[in-house]
């Protein structure tokens, strides 16, 4: 049933969304580098994460104040409890990325994170977990997964 809704998206929205997402991804290595430098100064990955999150929270509050968007907090209270906990797994990302960058450098750290990320994402889509529309692994998705893993292999081999 869920699949039905997915088919009616207008295709036009697809490409802008793709470009936007590629740009968003480009911010991550920058964040790796900046947070890594911060952790060197503070001598603590948890404090680095705390300050990083505090700065992000302030930025979001300002943006939300400037925008005309009015979040529907009543509807959000009726959403499943787990959907509020994205920050818990998100903080695992911030701490993990800092530890990795310090130990391995930005290039290898980025590569390793990508592997875990793509496998998790395609797996979540396949299982339809966490309230997602179910998108099963088909030949195209399996091929993409193989390409991503090959790209990572090359990258690690080049870095070694």
């Amino acid at each position: 049933m869920n699949e039905m809704h997915g088919k009616r998206r207008e295709p036009r929205a697809f490409w802008p969304a793709l470009v936007l997402t590629v740009l968003a991804g480009g911010l991550l290595p920058l964040q790796f580098a900046v947070n890594g430098a911060l952790a060197d100064h503070l001598g603590s990955v948890t404090l680095t994460g705390t300050l990083s999150y505090a700065a992000g929270t302030l930025g979001l509050l300002v943006l939300l104040g400037l925008s005309r968007q009015r979040p529907d907090w009543t509807a959000a209270r009726q959403a499943p409890r787990w959907s509020w906990l994205g920050g818990v797994v998100g903080s695992a990302y911030v701490v993990g990325s800092v530890v990795l960058t310090q130990a391995l450098g930005t290039a290898v750290a980025t590569t390793l994170v990508i592997a875990a990320q793509v496998v998790t994402a395609i797996g979540l889509d396949h299982l339809g977990g966490l309230g997602l529309e179910r998108r099963r692994v088909n030949p195209a998705r399996a091929g993409a997964l193989a390409l991503v893993l090959a790209a990572l292999g090359l990258r690690l081999w080049g870095a070694a």
């Binding site: 969304a17 992000g56 920050g87 797994v89 998100g90 993990g96 875990a116 990320q117 994402a121 997602l132």
Partner: protein, 153 residues
Amino acid sequence: MNLGLLLGTLGAGIGLAAGLAFNVRLARALGTPLAATLVNFVVGGVLLALLWLAGVGREGPAHLPPLWMLTGGLLGATYVTLNLIGAARLGVGVGTVAATLGQLLVALALPALGWLGQAQRLPSAAEGLSALLLLAAVALLAGDRQRAAGRPR
């Protein structure tokens, strides 16, 4: 590679991809991706502050950092918001791989340009080829998604 690094990798990768799925669900209820990202940051920040107060992950002496180093959180907030807007249209799978492509391109460009204090270095053939493979993967997933969107069922 030791166990700590392995756990760090898994935590970072799963955190990124699964965090996106959590946020997609919350953004749907709230009606705005900005507020969902805000919830995400408050929860993550409070958790890390508690861990820090409990003495987890404290090592070495602390020095006061220059202000620009705090921009990492702004970059993170921008990433989460944009990725969330994109994933609502693309699905978590395509959304993650597309973000991955941008990630890899900038990770190549940073040393090539010598920005943010990195030693200047041109990408090797292996690194260039690996970016091309990733581009092919994004194209494959994007094509698959377009076909699925066009096919009435």
